[in-house]
Subunit: 404 residues, 2 copies
């Protein structure tokens, strides 16, 4: 945890990945993030994977370092409290993260009525308010027909909820940007971040939409071949698989040197009258010829020997490993990665979990704060944010409007 | 384009996706983003896909709305100018986005020497400075062994450079957060965002690392089945494929209603003594039994009829379509999506490209600014940012230190 956002208060009324990961990024950079949930937990409170006791490892991963207040969100009073907490005064407060519908008790209109300069960032499915999830917008945008090997026509979902993760980081960016603007103008805003528009804009930004318009055709499926340059998986003498990529001339020349392929590739260049080093696209066009040279060169040597040669030559590569292998054996990625700290989580389990992916150079990486227990900070939030007295808080408990 | 970041100046010395998409997000929210490249273009200047004339659709997608200055980055004088532009004075300046190595002329040390309170965000491969790319860190972290069908053991890369995209959005968040901190403290910072740590932290945040630690095993490959709840692809009577997801009770009940499966599923619940509506995990555990009910129900009806029933019932679903189909036929995602504007790009082509994925409610979405031509703003930047005279700028052109 770092303190770049120290003093900022953000309220989160969200579930699943995109909204909660937005709050997580903010919390891990030092903001006070208050998450409200309905009593007993929202729709993500039992989301898999689960700990043996039934607690959600997913929930406790996505809510690290936040405060938790539990409210009866089905009751008018509970809903009023949620809006009041989101809209509480303070120049460093009035920031709200949600994935609730644009209409309803957490609508921008209702939030604005409670605080005119509120800043809200709303992760959505489709921009028009229709429901969507990462896996449905991904299917709509063609990724599952582009992923996979040419010998298998089945649409292939990737398992990574990339759009949710992107939505969380982008929402954090949008909210802090809106805070910057509000400090100058005094005006609030709601920024809507639909998953559908994250998909559409990302494919536009990378030129894929333009490519379809220009070519009037889809890019074919090509398995693990990297599009437009040199890259693919290869098998080593000892049966390991590696991903090897060369985009820049330096990467390309390093790979040839590490594999003793400089002469063979020069000969191919003379035959084809091309220069592979100067133009990564030519490497892609002639990749079948190049793969025929690389395959035996890699298959002839064991992983340890290849890895040493690659690292010396500055080659960009990785072994394919399962997550279990990586967690247990890859010290750089997990075992000795300083972004991980072992703490006790609400499940009662102690295990290593990650702080922020950004590292502030020359600053100490603070301790890792685990997720709260559901409703752990109910009384604290009611007292500190809403200024309620002990008697008022006790009455809310008695009425079943709050819990924790 | 919106004006949340109006008045902020950011300098970008970066290539490929992560760094440039950071700059793009900033530019599309109103910052002045000055990108410098070496004369003739950096390593991403000819990255595929290409326009018929050879211009990179990728480059012009990722650099929309930026200013471009071309410098000879192999010369000491060109490098000095790059550092001077990044470190130019002004309380709303001195923000820098890069993916250059931690050592070298754009090191944090060199930047700090030029401006003590500079803010720099540096997207990296591995945190230790070793080279990595999206596709190599992805292989190292197990995603390609988790993606794909159980009947095919090949590691399966997904084609989406998700870590690069996440890195760009997270870097934008980190930079604006650092700007907020600097306004209070006056202190600069460098935030390092390694792709390796984006992967490791994301898998931790979603509980996948904890799952491996708790289970001491990998989650098996499961094709297009959604983990931990109900979701998969299905084929319709007319041969379309759809992705159907139900996580919340409301989504589940809606899907059963739309498919007339309420009674059949109740019978299965009695047989298995479970409640599918209350526990999405039970839906996952018994998914083979559920799929056996859903498959014929979906296969019996054409897409148009199913889609209407799904939309009425609030079901979360999408048709699988290729990107070409989506771009040409899906008005909501592309054809009539208001985030797209048709403009002329540096390739000379006119086509629709996306503005920011975030929509500021109640604010006009400004025009879409295309990418610059390489070096289009060389003289302007030298004059306005560095205060050079016409004679000085002319001399730099004569010496070949700048171009454009």
């Amino acid at each position: 945890m770092y303190d770049l956002l120290k003093g900022l208060r953000v309220v989160e009324g969200a579930a699943f990945i995109a909204g909660p990961s937005c709050g997580l990024h903010l919390a891990q950079m030092g903001a006070e993030v208050i998450r409200f949930d309905t009593i007993g937990g929202g729709p993500d409170f039992r989301r898999w994977p689960l700990a043996p006791g039934g607690a959600s490892l997913y929930w406790e991963g996505l809510n690290k370092g936040k405060k938790s207040i539990a409210l009866d969100l089905n009751s008018p009073r509970g809903r009023e409290l949620a809006v009041a907490i989101a809209a509480a005064p303070g120049e460093n407060a009035g920031l709200f993260v949600t994935n609730y519908p644009t209409k309803g008790f957490l609508s921008y209109e209702n939030l604005k009525a409670a605080r005119a300069d509120i800043l809200s960032v709303r992760v959505m499915g489709w921009a028009d308010g229709a429901p969507a999830m990462d896996y449905t917008v991904n299917a709509a945008a063609g990724l599952p027909f582009a992923t996979g090997f040419p010998d298998d026509p089945r649409p292939m979902n990737h398992v990574l909820p990339a759009w949710d993760l992107l939505g969380g980081a982008y929402a954090a960016f949008a909210l802090i940007s809106a805070d910057r603007a509000r400090r100058a103008s005094g005006r609030g805003a709601e920024i809507r971040v639909p998953l559908s528009d994250l998909v559409a804009s990302s494919l536009s930004h990378m030129g894929a939409v333009a490519e379809v318009l220009v070519e009037n055709a889809d890019r074919p499926r090509m398995g693990n071949d990297l599009y437009g340059a040199f890259g693919r998986d290869f098998e080593t003498a000892d049966g390991a698989r590696i991903m090897l990529v060369a985009i820049s001339p330096k990467q390309w020349i390093g790979a040839l040197r590490a594999l003793d392929l400089t002469d063979a590739v020069s000969e191919l260049e003379r035959e084809l009258r091309v220069s592979f080093a100067k133009d990564e696209g030519v490497r892609f066009t002639h990749r079948a010829r190049l793969f025929a040279l690389f395959e035996p060169a890699i298959k002839a040597r064991p992983l340890a020997e290849l890895g040493a040669a690659f690292d010396t030559a500055g080659v960009t590569w990785s072994k394919y490993q399962t997550l279990h292998e990586a967690v247990n054996n890859d010290a750089r990625l997990f075992g000795k990665n300083p972004i991980f700290h072992t703490v006790e989580h609400p499940s009662g389990l102690r295990y290593a979990a990650a702080g922020p992916p950004g590292t502030v150079a020359d600053a100490p990486r603070g301790p890792l704060a685990p997720a709260p227990k559901l409703g752990q900070h109910t009384d604290e939030v009611l007292a500190n944010v809403l200024g309620l007295s002990g008697a008022q808080i006790g009455a809310l408990h008695d009425e079943g409007v709050v819990a924790g």
